[in-house]
Amino acid sequence: MRAALTGIVASALTLLMTTTSALATDLRMTVWTGSEAHLKMLNGIAESFKARHPDVNVKFETVPVNDYTQKLTFQVAGGNPPDIAWMMEDAAPAFENANLLMDLGPTLKAAEGYDFADFSQPAMGLWQKGETVYGIPFSTSPFMIYYNKDMFDKAGLEDPLALAAKGEWNMTKFQQVAKKLTEANPGKWGFEFKDGEGYASRMTHALLPPIRAYGGDIWSNEECGFDKPEAVAAIKQLHDMVFKDKSIVPPGEQGDYFSGNSAMTVNQISRASKMAEAGFNWGIAPLPGGPGGESPVIGQAGLVVFDQGKNKEIAAEFVAHMTNKENVATMAQFFPPARKSVLEADAFISGNKLVPPEMMKNVAAAIANGRVHPAHEKAPQLLAAMAPRVDALWKADADVDQAIKGICSAIQPLL
């Protein structure tokens, strides 16, 4: 009898659990962050979505950044796309043109208190075609200079933040400072390219800020910009810094800024979460200006919903929730917003737990004045075509002019 009762109870519980799980909706969202702080924040937003949709669970799936677009593509091709995904700016055009993304416009515009017009128009450029909204930027993050204050102090130098405040932070000063830092810190370097990948996967991120400072661009209007005089001057300066001054971490060497092996690097404020464990005093400053004036570079990432997803309507609602004013303000500590109201609010400047207000002011200014990294449908092919020519550039005895011409002749047919 007792055994029979136990059986009935067990069956009832199983049925209950099965029914509950059958009613619940699980949304899968791919992200490229594995940062505990980022995931904690994202899980908090998913939890707050339950207030309106108690039956919806959002799971964040971390995919390593280097393989991110590739793995996402294969999930799509295999008929198993995530419901929602972070999407990099360089991948967006290809996914949009393949008609893989859902039009989020109707859901976002219908969401209560959403205020779609609050998103700055330039920030939406990559994600909107006419009335169709393919994605919504959750991060409009300018490239900034991260500096190691201790290494500057050791070299007896004014730091980039102070120099920027005086209007003296330009490409010439950048070269001088990097050289002095290298001399004052033997075995270390003055500057490291973004994430130490400036000669490989982030070759355009390494070249773009100085080229823009000189008034050029890597490409625009389907035309290669590397061989324009402004870009050539910028690249020659970088080449001198690597091989004559030896102040930039050279190809084939490791000089991680975050481990204290370089005095400066370029990165975005999402990396501020890494600085807590860096073990040195640090700061954030604008990119050095140049003959082209101040021309910050913005890296952008958006949230998209896949059109073939089974739960695309509820996924779009989650995107609306995630990018409402309140949550954009929450995410702003790591991912600078494209919402004008959040960007202009005092909380964005003064409410960041990791970055002090005097530095956040520069971040806000860079978002306001910056231009995004040029996107292209064939971004992977462009990078692969460039790579061997860029390799030829990064040699001590390189014919820089010739190497630059090689870059343009390789990418122009693809542009």
Binding site: Q70, T73, F95, A98, P250, G252, E253, A392, K395
Partner: protein, 307 residues
């Protein structure tokens, strides 16, 4: 005779199957896991790749257009990158195979006889074979850094200024070959040890009694008797060298200046980075043909050797 035997089941019922049929059925049941696995994981994908190689298939748009042999024409006749990649693969094989085999034979000759500690040394040289290829490549990538790398610091102690190994095309290829040889030589060493131990000791003893020197014993007895093993090792190593991917992926990414862009990595690049699945399948079919030819050569030479 067996055909006519009928099995009587318990209860007096006669089985409708003959013994031979039952045996065949059992045999198929035993081999079915392998056969099913072969069909699903090898034959099926192989046939699919053969078909895809005749299409232009973009993974993102999911549109496949039948283009006949256009991809083969593109690879073999129009695309200069393809022949550059084949050249790199051949250079890699020409560098790796002789070096690997010479080192493997030397180690096998030293470690085929029992002596105190022989097992330890065999283990030491075999250990890299079972080490994760990616971990191996990462460690070597650090050791082969420019001025700050361990290898160059050691060279500096003896007054040699080492190159920036992985950033100069020729040195990068040499570095990848050497680190690959160190990783894989243990496998060929074991094969050579097995072959050496299979040679009857009587031959060597007889030669020694006749006054043959150690060099003569090696060149006139050991080496000829090792020929079948050498042939197998050579073909296996050559095939392996054409398929190298992990080392290149981790250490050089095909660079610098495409100096280490070999066939397997090029296929990966086309298929997984550019999503040109049709063209990548074509390249895979060409690689399959190369490996198939090498395998047939091996089979033919072995048959000839056995005759």
């Amino acid at each position: 005779m067996t055909d006519s035997i009928h099995i009587t089941r318990r209860g007096g019922q006669k089985s409708r199957l003959t013994l031979k049929a039952r045996e065949m059925m059992e045999a198929w049941l035993f081999v079915s896991p392998t056969v099913i696995g072969f069909i699903i994981f090898f034959l099926g994908p192989l046939l699919a790749v053969a078909y895809y190689s005749l299409t232009e298939w973009n993974l993102l748009t999911q549109q496949a257009t039948f283009v006949g042999l256009a991809n083969f024409e593109n690879a073999l006749l129009e695309n200069p990158d393809f022949w550059h990649v084949v050249r790199n693969s051949v250079i890699f094989a020409l560098g790796l195979v002789p070096l690997n085999m010479a080192l493997a034979l030397t180690l096998a000759l030293a470690l085929s006889r029992p002596f105190r500690g022989v097992v330890f040394f065999r283990t030491v040289f075999f250990a890299p074979v079972v080490t994760s290829a990616i971990a191996w490549a990462i460690v070597w990538k650090f050791m082969l850094q420019g001025e700050g790398g361990f290898i160059n610091q050691v060279l500096a102690l003896v007054g040699i200024s080492g190159p920036n190994w992985l950033r100069e095309p020729n040195w990068a290829m040499a570095a990848v070959i050497i680190t690959r040889v160190i990783k894989m030589v243990g496998l060929n060493m074991i094969l050579y040890i097995a072959a050496l131990q299979a040679i009857p000791r009587d031959y060597e003893e007889a030669a020694r009694l006749e006054g043959a020197s150690r060099r003569q014993i090696f060149s006139m007895i050991t080496w000829p008797l090792l020929a079948p093993a050498t042939l197998v090792i050579m073909v296996i190593t050559t095939i392996g060298s054409f398929k190298v991917f992990d080392h290149i992926y981790q250490m050089t990414g095909g660079g610098p200046e495409n100096g280490t862009l070999v066939l397997a990595f090029y296929i990966y690049q086309q298929g997984f980075k550019f999503f040109n699945v049709g063209y990548a399948s074509t390249l895979a079919m060409i690689m399959f043909a190369i490996v198939m030819v090498l395998t047939l050569v091996q089979v033919a030479l072995r048959r000839k050797g056995m005759e």
